[in-house]
Symmetry: C2
Subunit: 82 residues, 2 copies
Amino acid sequence: MALWVGYMAAILGTICWIPQAVQVWRARETKALSLPAQALFLATVTLWLIYGVMIGDWPLILANVVAVTMVGAIVLAKLKFG
Amino acid sequence: MALWVGYMAAILGTICWIPQAVQVWRARETKALSLPAQALFLATVTLWLIYGVMIGDWPLILANVVAVTMVGAIVLAKLKFG
């Protein structure tokens, strides 16, 4: 049972970045987003990706490749739209 | 070495919510935040907390108690300020 809760958390933790990435690029508006927070998110998911590669854990690698792409898009939007 | 990368990711993944929570309550402005995304973040950190409790993992429990509190504050701000 615990394993399923963990898998659900990992899946949600990956797709949760998508609506925010879509919204900032659609609305081209990022004033309320904290750049330090977004930079920390990007550092976090990048570290999880490196960790996944180091321990050869495919779910961690796949989840965080998606997360790095999405958070990267959000950081780009914040830098572009201010 | 991998363990340190994992611990760094876990620590960053906890504190990364704090600047965003502080900003939305200070600026009282949340237009750019996606409510579906914030709801998914809240669900994610809540599931990681439940998972941590189920497997008795204190770092996971502590990290996600902080995250649930911060993301909860962000969701409240989004509901309040629109």
